[in-house]
Symmetry: C2
Subunit: 282 residues, 2 copies
């Protein structure tokens, strides 16, 4: 099997590592806009070689593990260059803009829109972890538009690296992911900002930070070049989620202002139900 990976960040590099672990007979090439990331990936045997455009047509799967704005920039051009046996798979965190863009491409059936629900707050090939995808879900969109044979081999690939497959419409994906992923990132970034702004005036605050703060602010360490384009592309859904969130925060603030302990407790008790929901998430 021949695999190409464009973008050797956390996702691309972890995917390459895992594929190499699972398949005996595999050739993995890749590239990254950042020369030192590319060199790191080659030197650390995450990939074998730098990918060449002329190789595209000989690849079985070419993964795009780059920021979602970059996916929109390069996807059409790449699809024009692949062979009939090559499947291009994007791994971005938004799906509608990408599916819309590619809908009129003559090689649409050589494309699969995917989103692995996996990641950490770290970036770059030095963060690569071959277990990143173990038991994680990958969401596939518009699978009916992908050539059957290519779709089957992609599904086989994702199953073989230990992932669970879920299919969904692009707009459904973008709406739900706004709540369950994009919103968490914004609340975490803003918690970090609020505390850091305060710290400018008050020197002692961090001595008082515990593991609870650390956990809640963890996503505030995420990459801006990855996240700004996601917030831009999924703007409408994210604004909806933020409006709901703002309403909830303001309401809880009102309960505090009016000393309404019983209503606060009732609300928190309901939210405690998230325990059972989260049990399956690692």
């Amino acid at each position: 099997m021949n695999i190409g990976v464009i973008g050797l960040g956390l996702i691309g590099s972890s995917l390459a590592l895992k594929a190499d672990e699972v398949y005996n007979d595999i050739y993995i090439c890749g590239e990254d806009i950042n020369e030192s990331n590319l060199n790191y990936a080659i030197e650390n045997r995450i990939i074998k070689n730098k990918i060449q455009e002329k190789d595209y047509s000989e690849l079985d799967i070419l993964f795009l593990a780059i920021p979602v704005d970059e996916i929109l920039n390069v996807l059409d051009k790449i699809l024009d260059k692949v062979g009939e046996n090559t499947l291009v798979v994007d791994l971005g965190s938004t799906k509608s803009p990408i599916c819309d863009l590619v809908s009129s491409n003559q090689n649409r059936s050589n494309f699969l829109a995917a989103h692995p629900i996996a990641g950490t707050e770290f970036s770059g090939p030095m963060s690569a972890d071959s277990s990143l995808f173990d038991n994680k879900t990958i969401i596939l969109c518009e699978t009916e538009k992908t050539e059957n044979r290519l779709l089957s081999s992609a599904k086989e690939f994702f199953l073989s690296i230990g992932m669970n497959i879920k299919e969904m419409k692009p707009d459904e994906h973008d709406k739900h992911i706004a709540y369950v992923s994009h919103l968490s990132h914004i609340t975490s970034f803003m918690l970090g900002k609020t505390v850091m702004d305060k710290e400018k005036d008050e020197g002692t605050i961090y001595d008082m930070a515990g593991s609870g703060f650390e956990s809640t602010v963890r996503l505030g360490k995420s990459s801006p070049s990855m996240w700004a384009p996601i917030f831009y592309q999924n703007k409408t859904n994210i604004i909806d989620a933020l409006d709901e969130y703002l309403k909830n925060i303001k309401n809880f603030k009102y309960l505090i202002e009016t000393d309404n302990l019983s209503e606060m407790s009732k609300e928190m008790k309901e939210i405690n139900g998230i325990k059972n929901i989260l049990k399956g998430i690692k």
Copy 2:
């Protein structure tokens, strides 16, 4: 050494376990309003016996590891009953209301206001963990009002269980902890609520939840009976922190609405600086 622990939740039970590990010659008794928690703690040798009021005067340290509203309810009565060699230490997450209340007690010098910056989202003696306090900070307030000899032995105790000691004024503590702990809990609870409310309508959302969501919403599993009184007692500081947070969220929402990717990126890049700040927190 004789130790009493009122409140055998996560904090009280973990403290008892650790003290028993560190000191050879120690007697630990305790109590809990919840009979099954008390029995669990005795059966699992977290404490030796149920504490009796007549024992209070023979204790070296009596810890109050109960919700902050309960501390206000019982502190005066308990201080009236202890002997001159007993130090009562509260471990609550607010300090001003407790220090204010106790200021006129005739046995004020037998009291020490403390807040260990340690905890998890779990409650009860079954969550006890003797390593909970390892390398964590304990904040002591108004130490000048505690009898010197008793203060020294309390400090020795906290150092011996592996904690770092920091001293601070009660109002300073409450202001900072509002940002770095209480605010995180509210943002986490409200993230949980926002996603759960959406889930009522949309059945699929949790399949899409990843480890980032799990981390950000973790504190939403915390105990309402512990947290509602904290929000009530530290109301003014928490409202200030919430106002700052709301302002930041609204501003970031505006950047998304106006497609201002460069300003979004700039802001997130600054927040990424939290990486270095968090390095020391485990």
